[in-house]
């Protein structure tokens, strides 16, 4: 006797433990198999792009903190670099190095949360994420030393950074950089050959190379699919061309590759910080910038390699004190567009981990 079955709609989110914020997946399921998925977002829309048009260029920096709140330093950096490009403001060398150090520390912090949350989605009852939060705490302590904040830093300024680092920062950072590779090895020991993690993530949620390029994916999601594109190498900004580092790429583009690429990028970030510490020279950290910045009429697109991908700011100036147009190319949102193609045909449990492996931050998706 054939049993009559019919697909049903399951609403995952906006309030669900593993939607990483207020994302909603309207999934059509046939038993456990995902037949269709419609992403719904906008629950966290705050109108940042419009608000930014009513504030001065400096006043907009705190807004960028609230985009991808797990990587505020990177957002700061992308925005101030775009403004500097627009107004032609030089940045002192020491400030450039500090920016690189902060951005790479931020990449470490963000990837730790990304990997931890991914494993949480795999069902590893909080243990991996808490180990990773242990290291992230140290990074947040370092950030607290330089700017007094642990989440929304507002540290970068147009033409430099807000403060020079305090004297206890460099020894603490040196200690951290020395410890960190050991911790990453520890995670690898615990996770890299964990049989359950392998059967759960290998071959699951494959993002083909062509599709990844077509949707203009970026960051670890793109590199896991085998495309060697990192803006730090392709279009070097700040002082990145002075450092030696590799770009890890995956081969298949499955969840495991995305996880693996993030783990490897953490090692590379540690390497960059180590080199930056050696090359760091003394000097000014802030160049002379007019109190009220009137950039010349024009438009500019500044982009950096943020932890989640290519973060770009498109600014249009009409020579007033506020940007005429303030557009954000948010990597989370653009990487998310591949989600439907990736999860159709997989089981419900896979859908959750595929979503987790993209590593989005809703603050950036909705802005």
């Amino acid at each position: 006797m054939a049993i009559k079955t019919e697909p049903f709609v399951l609403n995952i989110g906006p309030a669900h433990p593993s939607t990483h914020g207020v994302f909603r997946m309207r999934t059509t399921l046939d038993g456990e198999v995902v037949l269709d998925m419609e992403p719904v977002f906008g629950y966290l829309h705050r109108g940042i792009e419009k608000l930014a048009e009513t504030r001065t260029y400096t006043q907009n920096i705190p807004f960028t903190d609230r985009l991808d709140y797990l990587a505020s330093m990177s957002n700061n950096l992308a925005y101030v670099m775009a403004v500097e490009k627009l107004a032609g403001i030089p940045v002192p060398e020491r400030a450039e190095y500090l920016r690189v150090i902060m951005a790479e520390l931020q990449r470490l912090a963000s990837h730790l949360i990304a990997v931890g949350a991914f494993l949480n989605d795999c069902g590893a009852f909080m243990t991996p994420i808490l180990y990773m939060i242990r290291e992230r705490e140290k990074i947040l302590d370092l950030f607290e030393m330089v700017c007094g904040q642990r989440l929304t830093y507002n540290y970068m300024r147009i033409g430099g950074v807000s403060h020079d680092i305090p004297e206890e920062f460099l020894p603490a950072l040196g200690r951290f950089v020395k410890e960190m590779p050991g911790f990453i090895d520890e995670y690898d020991q615990l996770l890299a050959e964990n049989e359950i993690l392998l059967v759960r993530s290998k071959g699951v949620g494959i993002l083909p190379k062509e599709l990844a390029i077509n949707i203009s994916a970026s960051g670890p999601v793109l590199r896991a699919s085998g495309v060697k594109r990192d803006i730090r190498k392709v279009d070097p900004y700040s002082v990145y061309e002075r450092f030696e580092f590799d770009i890890p790429t995956g081969s298949v583009g499955d969840c495991y590759d995305r996880y693996w690429v993030r783990m490897q990028e953490m090692r590379q970030s540690t390497r960059i910080i180590k080199q930056a510490l050696e090359q760091l020279s003394s000097g000014e950290v802030q160049s002379q910038v007019p109190q009220r910045l009137h950039p010349p009429v024009g438009e500019v697109y500044g982009h950096i390699e943020a932890p989640k991908g290519e973060l770009g700011f498109y600014l249009v100036s009409d020579n007033s004190i506020a940007p005429y147009r303030f557009h954000i190319r948010a990597p989370s949102l653009i990487n998310l567009t591949a989600l439907r193609d990736m999860i159709i045909g997989w089981k419900l449990a896979d859908a959750i981990i595929i979503f987790g492996s993209i590593d989005i931050c809703m603050g950036e998706v909705d802005r």
Binding site: P17, V33, C122, G123, A124, T127, V199, A349
Partner: protein, 373 residues
Amino acid sequence: MTTVETGFNSGSSLASLPPDWPGGYWLHWGVFVIIILAFVFLTVLIFIWLERRLIGRFQVRLGPNRAGPFGILQPIADAIKILLKEDIVPAKGDKLVFWLAPVVAFVPVLLIFAVIPFQGGALLADLNIGILYIVAVSSVSVIGIFMAGWGSNNKYSLIGAMRTIAQVISYEIPMGLAIIGVVLIAGSLSLTDIVAAQNIPFILFQPLGFLIFFIAALAEINRTPFDVMEADSELVAGFHTEYSGMKFGLFYLMEYAEVLAISAIVTTLFLGGWRGPVLPPVLWFLIKVFAMFFIIVWVRSTIPRVRIDQIMGFAWKFLLPLALINMFITGLEVILLPEVLPWPIIFLNLAIAAGLVVLWSKFFRLGGGRVEV
């Protein structure tokens, strides 16, 4: 000394009690039932506290440490909170089924303790088919879980309940087959006799059987890595998503009582029950139960969750053939090698277990699973 015609063994604990107590056997049963209930609830409270403390340690944090010394009063505080919570019944749910579900799920777990020997003679009913009774009774609580999933009128609950049914029914088979190995060696279904037969704990004679039983038991009680029924990252809270107040509390109690029951069964079947040198028997029993509990908590805090189709594949492709082979080998050994010293058999069995596990893991792989739609 008279024996009551209830099908109990003559060696029953109750039969050996002085028969001239006022109230006769019924009073003794009543007293024993109260003792068992007190034991179960107290141990469950300790388990809850211990699990949270242990997981705290595993996760490089402290765990509850505010209520009382070392947070020992935390489960009591939680119980008070749960009792005071509003009891919400979904408006479109099936109210009767919703209401009955926690009871149907919880009672069978309590019933298991009726046949667990805490020490020689200290058990409520020394059934001559004790282990069969456990297998039968423990599968009833699945009905309660499915009732919860159905009565909640919630899709998460329903998916969780469906998964549970599939999983528990599948894992009952390797579990039962693993028990047969023990029964073959002991030559009895009575738990007292099984313990009495363990001059050397059966875990050494039955390493493969122990592994299969332990893994299947983890799936039976839905602990990680088989906790797909409440998979918090997928199904929010699975079958008890809609439950609150004391109804939720009963499910919570059930979960830990099941852990206690499984620890006690493993102790009885494989670890030699109450037997051990020097210390009093009850203490040995408790030590072994808590050791098992520690391992279960350890597994929970370490391993990620397996997907539902992989869980089913694991039961049917991995555990079931191994359990059959184990049963076959045990049968051969019982018939052909009854007089051989135990140690050669133990080493032989350990080698067979290791070889089979390695061999099977080479040939059968879990994974894959994309469906073309």
